[in-house]
Symmetry: C2
Subunit: 142 residues, 2 copies
C-alpha cells in the first residue's frame, strides 16, 4: 500500500448546509464533480468530500448511530502565528463553534480548535517545527 | 482560509500497536519527527498522525467518550481495478477487519472497506472518474 490518502469523507447531516459552510463560510471552491449527493473539494494531493452520514455508514456497512467524540481531528496549519486567531474568527463567523481559544501549546506552537457544523474538530495551528512549503504543503523530516 | 488540510489525526487506544499496523502492516515509513506520544506519516501534501484518543479529545476540550460510527471515512484509491482486492487482503493480513468485500459501486467503480485497529473505516477504491497522477495524487476537475 503506497503511503498516501485519497479522500477524507465527512458524514454530514445536511449536505447543502455543510457545503455552504465550506464554500461560502471558509471560501473553498467545490469541484464540478460535486452533485446533489456529494461535494468534493481539492485539498492539495487529496480531496475532502461531504456526504450524508447515514449513506456513508451504509457504504461501509456500519450502523449509522454514533455519539460523542468520533476520535478524529483535522488540522489546518498557518504560516504565521498571528493567523491562528484570524482563522478561528473566520470559522466562527461562518457558523463554527469555538472549542478552545488559541493558546501556547506544550510543543512550542500556538493553536486553537473549532468544530464545524457537524461537530468535526479542526485544529488551527502555527507549528514552527513544521514549516509550510509555498503551496501550503506540510513536509515532515524523513 | 486556504483550501487545504495539514493533518488528519486518528485518536488511538494503543499507539505502539497502531504505529506497528501502519508501519509494518501497511508498509508506511514514519517520520523522524515521531516520538513516544505521536507518530507522523507524510501522505502527499499532508500528514497522518496517530495520537492517544484521550489526549486528542483533551486537546480539543471534548469529552473523550464516544460510541458507534464516528462519521468520518478515509479512502485509498488505486490505479488499477485489480489492486482493490490485493490492498484489502494486505490490510486484513496486517490485522484490519474487512467491513465490505470489494464490489461494483453505483458510481461506476469497484470498492470495499476495511477498519483499522481502532475501527476507523478506510475505503479502498478504483474510481475511473478520478484518475490518479503519477505520484498518486487525486486531481479533481475544477
Amino acid at each position: 500500500m503506497e503511503q498516501r490518502i485519497s479522500l477524507i469523507t465527512l458524514g454530514v447531516t445536511d449536505l447543502a448546509r455543510s457545503r455552504y459552510f465550506y464554500e461560502h463560510g471558509l471560501g473553498w471552491q467545490p469541484s464540478s464533480a460535486s452533485n446533489e449527493q456529494v461535494s468534493f473539494f481539492q485539498t492539495g494531493s487529496m480531496v475532502l468530500a461531504l456526504y450524508g452520514k447515514t449513506a456513508l455508514a451504509q457504504d461501509a456497512q456500519l450502523a449509522p448511530e454514533g455519539t460523542g467524540f468520533g476520535g478524529i481531528a483535522l488540522a489546518y496549519n498557518v504560516r504565521q502565528r498571528e493567523e491562528v486567531d484570524a482563522v478561528l474568527a473566520e470559522a466562527q463567523a461562518a457558523g463554527a463553534t469555538l472549542l478552545t481559544s488559541a493558546q501556547e501549546t506544550d510543543w512550542g506552537g500556538y493553536a486553537g480548535y473549532f468544530a464545524d457544523l457537524d461537530g468535526y474538530p479542526w485544529e488551527v495551528a502555527w507549528n514552527p517545527h513544521f514549516p509550510l512549503l509555498d503551496d501550503g504543503s506540510v513536509q515532515l523530516p524523513q
